[in-house]
Amino acid sequence: MATRAELSILLADVVGKRRVLERPSELVVYSADGLPGYRRVPMLAVFPETGEELVDVVRTLAAVDASFVPRGAGTGLSGGALADDVVLLGLNRLTRVLSVDAENEVAVVEPGVVNVHLTRAAARHGLHYAPDPSSQAACTIGGNVAENAGGPHCLKYGVTLNHVVAVTAVLPDGELVTLGSAAGETEGYDLLGAFVGSEGCFGVAVEVTVKLSRNPPAVRTLLADFTSLAAAAEATSAIVASGVLPAALEMMDGPTIQAVEASIYAAGYPVDAAAVLLCEVDGLEAGLDADVRTVERICRDHGARTVRVAADDAERARLWQGRKKAFGAMGRVSPHLVVQDAVVPRTRLVDVLETIRQIAERHRVKVCNVFHAGDGNLHPNIGYDANDPDETARVHLAMGEIMRACVAAGGSITGEHGVGVDKLDYMELIFSEDSLAAMCRLREVFDPRRRANPGKVVPTRSCREWMATPAARPPSRSPGGTPTAGPAGVTS
């Protein structure tokens, strides 16, 4: 393995000295992502500015067998962009929208293009990029591809996977591959499907071809407020079962509403409500009001005090801003916030939310729920002070119990934030040893040396068996970033 000084010289040859950072004071900026409580200082950071530079950087790293962690905007919430004394490969300078093909409704972008910039580039054609994570003003398409990012409107329009047509990627060994095609169907295994959501472990996207969606001709946004969380959850299940497929169906509980309303993002949510549902239906103008009436009726049948339909685009934007900036608003309440992510079957929302409430009460922690109710994708967030060891320990315990409750309800440990390092210890709750081993095998197809984002997604112990097999494999090295933190990601 090359030393930091050797690597620095090699990489500076590719991108120039100014785009290789190695001083601790510079690297500290890249020592955390959106997952609180973790600090991992990279060995150095390198920032290619063109696709060619990116490929050359990866080839340089391959030549000296150096591990690396790709990073977009660093907004990820599972610690996927943490680089523990390995090279951090910053992609945020690859920001070109290479083409927008309105006729075929696709765009080709570099990985560092910010999600909302892509939609802006498509806007003059009446098109947009559908996946809309709450961090869309900052997060990048490369990061979205790595995490298979979702967002409120994924309820109707699908997640990143459903909107990526092709990826040109550089594999960890430096080979350039094209997965998928924008020019017709492809045959063979769906390696594009495998690549999307591989959390930077399979290689680095150099160019991404995405589908653009036509802007819906009509939109209605409703806000329903409830005096109990259970009633809002029941209404959610009933809307899902009714056959109306909202574009988005979001829930915020009382503590979230209060945080939002006390912030600069105040959206006019009723502060005394136990929960609000933000429901958007879209599509053709015809028949849309019938859907609005159905949703309205279901909400009222489940005890909604008021159901308000946004009168204009300004009101609609305001209602959405409160939802999208809710995490930011919670910054007023506590210095640190764990944004959790889990999924349950939609019919289990009511009892799982009640279980979460009991868990929070037992551990004396403050849970705020703001989440994609229509998908059953929970975000039970806990505000806390990471400098308070006692509170941190309680948060840690509560998060573990919440995860187990979601799994027990038939759910998943992550719906859109990824496993990263945060959820590693939960993987065994939902996957058998053989299933985890099968995932390791897939990773080894793309990265036999496991140099790309080492130590993430699948617990290292799950791969031991394969590493031990007497195959024609080079001797194993310690993967650089073995996670040391606890499962809830709250050790500090």
């Binding site: 045959e187 769906d190 497929l245 053709l284 939609r346 759910g411 998943s412 992550t414």
Partner: protein, 405 residues
């Protein structure tokens, strides 16, 4: 319970394989020990698809039954051998459906549809199996029982083994169980036929206007061009010419408004919903089927090109998914293989300088080596695919040859 569908107890994802998977695992392990190559089948409805398989024995993953169905979740888990028809009946009782309508017999299985990634006209709105499978269980060629994904509609836990197995033609593992996303049955479901004008420019203009209206007044769940030879074969159709079929679904108001929008563009005639089934089952056993795809903007040129090709093969027909830019040619048995080889020769489908993609579903056995020796491309992407095969089926026991691997 209808159609012999049995509800089975559910098994925890981490709690070991289902008895069904465990039994298949034993079969695979025995085969591995003996070096027996296996032809993996469901109900055997797809045996004429794909490249010829060199196998010593047949392994039937034909066990049928719904494992879990909670209508309020709009998800369903079934054994791979469950016929789509059975799923249709179970879900219809709850006013839901699985919008998979692959071409072929209605008793084809969920597992076969998923592993062949077969899609029909409804993929226009609902996507292909790739977009609708939430989780699955499979037995690898190494004899391990593996689960990918889960039973919830949104899930990014771990690497995506689901996408890897969808469309893998049984070469990576024997799929034993599948979880899919369901939809609510629409309140109204109407199919309209628009005769294409005989004049080429007028026909192109009509298709373009219908596509453009997707921005404002149209949102069909299927939009399929049906070539005149197929129209004739179906019989009882409103005109003896190419038709554009639009399937409109949703609440009554939405459907009525779209009907009016189409009527403003063309003559329209309502067809019974059974027309879709008739199209799906029209192709006879032993037919060669070939898909031609281009960028969506080339959809009309592509369609015309496919029509011209079919015209050279007596009895052949074409239908095309307008939104997806895929034209499908069906060549009935009895045509000289040499004529088929000539019609679908590599490079013969370039449209406006773009090569397009030819994808063969079924061919006379002797044509595969020349027309499409492998599903895996040359170069680094194909090499990755071969490594995937080696990783999951190290002894090459499962459906050897079907992807030209």
């Amino acid at each position: 319970m209808t159609s012999g569908v049995v509800r089975l107890p559910r098994f925890d994802a981490t709690g070991g394989p289902s008895p069904h998977a465990a039994a298949l695992r034993e079969r695979v392990r025995e085969a591995a020990a003996a070096g027996t190559r296996l032809r993996v089948v469901g109900r055997g409805r797809w045996l004429d698809a794909g490249r010829p398989v060199r196998a010593d024995s047949t392994l039937a993953a034909d066990a049928s039954g719904v494992v879990e169905y909670t209508p309020g979740d709009l998800t369903l888990t079934a054994l791979a051998g469950t016929p789509l028809e059975a799923i249709r009946e179970v879900t219809r009782a709850e006013r839901q459906w699985l919008p998979f309508d692959p071409f072929g017999a209605p008793d084809g299985t969920l597992g076969a549809t998923v592993v062949t990634a077969s899609a029909g006209p409804l993929a226009h709105a609902f996507g292909t199996p790739r977009d609708n499978v939430l989780g699955l269980e499979f037995v690898t060629g190494a004899g391990a029982v593996v689960r990918g994904g889960g039973r919830v509609v949104k899930n990014v836990a771990g690497f995506d083994l689901v996408r890897l197995l969808v469309g893998s033609w049984g070469t990576l593992g024997v799929v034993t169980e599948v979880t899919v996303r369901l939809r609510a049955l629409p309140e109204a479901d109407v199919t309209l036929a628009l005769p294409l004008p005989a004049d080429d420019a007028a026909a192109r203009s009509l298709v373009a206007r219908v596509v453009e209206a997707h921005r404002t007044t149209l949102a069909p769940v299927a939009l399929e061009l049906i070539g005149a030879p197929l129209v004739r074969r179906l019989g009882g159709m409103p005109a003896d010419r190419h038709l554009l079929l639009a399937r409109l679904a949703g609440n009554a108001e939405l459907v009525a408004s779209q009907r009016a929008a189409l009527a403003a563009m063309s003559d329209v005639a309502e067809l019974p919903p059974e027309v879709w089934r008739a199209i799906a089952v029209a192709e006879p056993a032993g037919a060669a089927t070939v898909r031609l795809s281009h960028r969506p903007a080339r959809r009309f040129d592509s369609w015309r090109h496919a029509l011209a090709t079919a015209a050279r093969l007596p009895g052949a027909w074409v239908h095309a998914s307008v939104g997806r830019g895929i034209a499908r040619c069906v060549v009935p048995p009895g045509i000289e293989p040499a004529a088929i080889a000539d019609a679908f020769a590599p490079g013969s489908f370039a449209v406006a300088g773009e090569p397009g993609t030819l994808l063969f579903e079924r061919l006379p056995a002797q044509l595969w080596p020349t027309l499409s020796p492998s599903a895996m491309p040359d170069g680094p992407t194909g090499r990755l695919m071969r490594k995937v095969k080696d990783a999951y089926d190290p002894h090459h026991l499962l459906n050897p040859g079907i992807m030209g691997e």
